[in-house]
């Protein structure tokens, strides 16, 4: 089944809230080699003006991943995940994700376009803590066409 273009503009149910804690942030920072003490030392984080330790910028992908499953696993979306390649990724941070946050994420399909037998899909996830916007993630994935 080809990628279903009627999903453009659709917003999926929000997922979460998920509790962000210091251990989650420390594990992510260690995995990407981020050694800035604002990720692991509450005193350093407070000295920089944050409530507690903050996540590396790309940790927002963890919540995008949870939210966008609502779309990519929808059987009517027509996405064969074994044929998906990550094309582009952007993060906009309204403020850093901080230990103690309870974050919610919600995905919208911004565009679907065909390109040489492939489908390029751009999805956006809005990450919020309560009513406060935290980050916007935008991902373009390429679903490779059949051989």
């Amino acid at each position: 089944m080809p990628v279903n273009e009627s999903f453009v503009g659709r917003t999926f149910a929000p997922v979460g809230p998920y509790a962000v804690d210091a251990a989650m942030i420390a594990a992510f920072a260690a995995a990407v080699g981020a050694t800035d003490p604002v990720h692991t030392d509450p005193q350093a984080a407070r000295a920089a003006g944050y409530r507690d330790v903050i996540a590396p910028p790309t940790m927002a992908v963890r919540f995008d991943q949870l939210a966008s499953r609502e779309y990519v696993q929808d059987p009517d979306a027509g996405i064969d995940y074994s044929r998906v390649v990550h094309g582009e990724q952007t993060f906009v941070h309204h403020r850093p994700i901080t230990a103690g946050d309870q974050v919610t994420a919600q995905t919208t399909v911004d565009s679907i376009r065909g390109a040489g037998g492939h489908a390029m899909i751009t999805v956006r996830s809005e990450i919020t803590a309560g009513d406060e916007p935290v980050a916007t993630t935008t991902s373009t994935i390429v679903v490779r066409g059949g051989e």
């Binding site: 604002v38 910028p57 940790m59 991943q65 990724q89």
Partner: protein, 139 residues
């Protein structure tokens, strides 16, 4: 402490970093990011779908490269916007691989005291990220 806007010029070099990536790094990243795709952990599976070997998550590569911009800014929380294209893969053989990262200041906005920096990341001599830019808030 965050870097002072007035100390920065267009064309400034951010320096370089080398980030080591092993199979264990990818297992750790998979757990931290929730991306458990086996092409990033299982050599036999990766080869069965036509890949040369285990490959790093594109998002690992983006995260590891971004630490150069965060460290240059002096506070990772100053990275307001970070974007990239994924142009090639980082192949991770059993003995690991190195991601080599460099960066340069592309533009400055005196009104907002923000800098846009461009990062270059390569592995085994091949550029793996394209149009990789970060906007950082300086003091």
């Amino acid at each position: 402490m965050a870097r002072a806007f007035d100390s920065v010029n267009v064309g400034d070099d951010l320096g370089t970093s080398v980030v080591r990536v092993t199979r264990q790094t990818l297992v750790d990243y998979a757990a931290a990011s929730l991306d458990q795709n086996p092409i990033h952990q299982d050599e036999a599976f990766a080869k069965s779908v036509g890949l040369p070997d285990v490959i790093a998550h594109g998002m690992w590569t983006m995260g590891a490269a971004g630490t150069l911009a965060a460290d240059w800014a002096g506070d990772a929380g100053r990275v307001l916007r970070y974007g990239t294209r994924f142009t090639s893969m980082v192949v991770v053989p059993p003995d690991g691989a190195d991601l080599e990262v460099s960066g340069v200041v592309k533009s400055l906005d005196p009104q907002t005291r923000r800098a846009t920096v461009e990062l270059t990341a390569s592995a085994a001599g091949v550029k793996v990220l394209g149009r990789c830019t970060a906007e950082v808030q300086l003091d």
